[in-house]
């Protein structure tokens, strides 16, 4: 490319430098300070801060719960997207719009209402707790609320792909003698796989950083129901800034790693379409 090329449209310098300025002030400088503060601890103290038994339990739980919620959402999301695209039923548009509610509802509200619903005296808990399902103040509660938070990702990733699939391929497979299950597993599933994977990764990444909803439902018991972001806040509230920063850096590296994975997935699925 040739930077000397005359630009006809105005505002290049202004818009680009403003964008860079905001990114610098809001994103780069804060990130650099975080990394600097965490690394200035020195390798030994850093390891001591991020690799305590309590922190390890928190990482394990954060990963495990996000993974479980992402897996559940992949199945539920495929089901909901399929039904919304392929079938007609009353109130379809209302249900379609409701899929996005977890995006619009403040996470604190989600946490508040989930914690109230599933405790022993709650609207759902009074039936479920006697059955042995503890949907509040437990690890199940964390998975449950993360499933709610991540619900729209898979649906919204799969829906457009499902809509754009050509009926011809399915017809051809069926007329060549494939039964419904074979059409699903050999024709539809391979076409949907990139979208499912993207949705899974987005749900997982969202779960890793989630705080607002989990803090209400989990009970936040160290070693048992304390996720990494809650641990960071606990350290901050105990004025242990150095430890909080070190754990935050670990979480940040994981999140950026997930973002890189998501970008790769999206690029690959786009190349498939091309």
């Amino acid at each position: 490319m040739t930077p000397r090329k005359r630009r006809v449209l105005p505002g290049f310098g202004l818009s680009l430098s403003y964008t860079m300025l905001i990114l610098l002030v809001l994103l780069f400088i804060p990130l650099v300070v975080l990394v600097y503060r965490a690394t200035s601890l020195g390798p030994e103290k850093f390891l001591q801060a991020v690799w305590t038994p309590q922190a390890r339990a928190a990482y394990g739980l954060t990963f495990g719960a996000s993974l479980a919620a992402a897996a559940i959402d992949t199945v539920l999301g495929l089901l909901i997207a399929w039904v919304l695209v392929r079938y007609e039923f009353p109130l379809k548009r209302v249900f379609d719009a409701l899929v996005d509610l977890p995006f619009a509802l403040p996470t604190a509200v989600a946490g508040l209402v989930y914690s109230a619903l599933y405790v022993e005296s709650g609207w759902l808990g009074r039936y479920l707790v006697p059955l042995g399902f503890h949907g509040a103040h437990s690890r199940t509660a964390i998975v449950l609320v993360l499933t709610f938070i991540g619900l729209p990702f898979v649906v919204r990733a799969v829906q457009p792909v499902l809509e754009s699939l050509d009926a011809d391929v399915e017809e051809a497979a069926a007329s060549l003698g494939a039964n419904r299950w074979q059409v699903l597993s050999r024709v539809l599933f391979p076409a949907l796989q990139p979208a499912l994977l993207t949705g899974f990764a987005l749900t997982f990444a969202r779960g890793l950083g989630e705080f607002g909803s989990v803090v209400f439902v989990s009970g936040n018991m160290p070693y048992y129901t304390e996720i990494a972001p809650v641990l960071i806040v606990a350290k901050l509230e105990a004025f242990a800034y150095a430890e909080a920063t070190a754990i935050a850096l670990v979480l940040l590296i994981c999140s950026f790693g997930m973002l890189a994975v998501i970008n790769t997935l999206e690029r690959r699925s786009r190349r498939h379409e091309a």
Binding site: V8, L14, L79, P106, V113, A167, L202
Partner: protein, 323 residues
């Protein structure tokens, strides 16, 4: 909709194989049960719990309690300010990224997404490390008598950070699809930059912009994690509505807590309605745009080719609404 829309409906003149009726009914009822259990019951119960101590308690919490009223006022200051900052940022970023080719363009697009990947708690912590009492600029700011952390500017900063990509991510696919032809024509005919923006660009992107604003505002009003870290939780001073929800719960006023939550839920439902309306609107606008706009700007600006296919629209929309 495309002409083959009718064909997609099972049984409408189509040879597409479909499930037997009992299978369809089973799948529909399964999917709807999931939505009812995960989404409908929780939303309904927010209002149920909110009114569990009667109308008087509900309205007293919302209208009489000074701390709750202050939280409302604070949210009405913080969220619109963040949205405004992000509108200016979003328009600037989308303009630079869709109308010009420059070195590092792809990298800049990636950077735009970073705030979505940062856990809100970590975002809040970064600003504490910068502007807090023991932060990098903290002591200097203190000597000037400026407080950012544990006060309104910190809340605005944290909220702006977590919502930073919303408007830009909505505008980029819209501006890419519309293409630069009309703007080039305006400039060629002698319009200045401001006239071009006001008469051509803004009318073209208004629905996409509004969509971004709606999403951004929903997130800004509801933000909890980042704000939690920078607020300091001073009742009647630095509690926004979501923080007030938690405070009331800790004061064992469950009904009051749900009363505040019901206001936020109501706003979320309004957001969804406006959003569905805007989705229909932007879909129509994009279809009306001439088909050959997407990749063919004139010779003297290079086409932002790689990312202009429509596939990126949906991915961007998902990402934007999400993380």
């Amino acid at each position: 909709m495309k002409p083959d829309a009718a064909r997609r409906r099972p049984g409408v003149g189509s040879g597409r194989p479909t499930e037997p009726a009992w299978g369809r009914r089973l799948l529909i009822s399964l999917a709807l049960s999931v939505l009812i259990v995960l989404v409908v019951i929780p939303v309904a119960s927010v209002f149920g719990y909110a009114f569990s101590k009667g109308w008087d308690h509900y309205w007293n919490t919302l209208l009489r309690d000074p701390d709750t009223r202050h939280a409302m006022w604070l949210t009405l200051v913080v969220a619109p300010t963040s949205v405004l900052l992000n509108v200016v940022f979003g328009i600037a970023a989308a303009w630079a990224l869709t109308r010009f080719e420059f070195r590092g363009r792809t990298l800049l697009t990636t950077f735009l997404d970073l705030p979505f990947a940062v856990s809100p708690v970590v975002a809040g912590l970064m600003f504490v490390l910068l502007f807090g009492a023991t932060g990098v600029f903290g002591p200097q700011l203190q000597s000037w008598g400026v407080t950012i952390i544990f006060s309104t500017p910190g809340l605005i900063l944290a909220t702006t950070f977590v919502t930073l990509p919303f408007v830009a991510r909505e505008l980029i696919p819209v501006m890419q699809a519309i293409g630069p032809e009309e703007e080039l024509a305006a400039i060629t005919l002698g319009a200045n930059g401001w006239q071009m923006f006001r008469r051509i660009t803004l009318p073209n992107i208004k629905w996409g912009l509004l969509y971004g604003v709606i999403l951004c505002n929903a997130r800004a009003m509801g933000e909890y994690g980042a704000v939690y870290v920078v607020s300091g939780h001073i009742s009647g001073q630095t509690d926004t509505l979501p923080l007030r929800v938690e405070k009331l719960l800790q004061e064992f006023d469950t009904a009051g807590s749900f009363a505040v939550a019901s206001v936020l839920t109501f706003l979320a439902l309004v957001t969804l309605i406006v959003k569905s309306f805007l989705e229909a609107r932007t879909a129509r606008d994009l279809e009306e745009a001439p088909a050959d706009d997407a990749g063919l700007p004139p010779d003297d600006i290079e086409a932002p080719a790689a990312s202009s296919e429509p596939a990126s629209t949906s991915a961007a929309a998902i990402t934007a609404a999400g993380i």
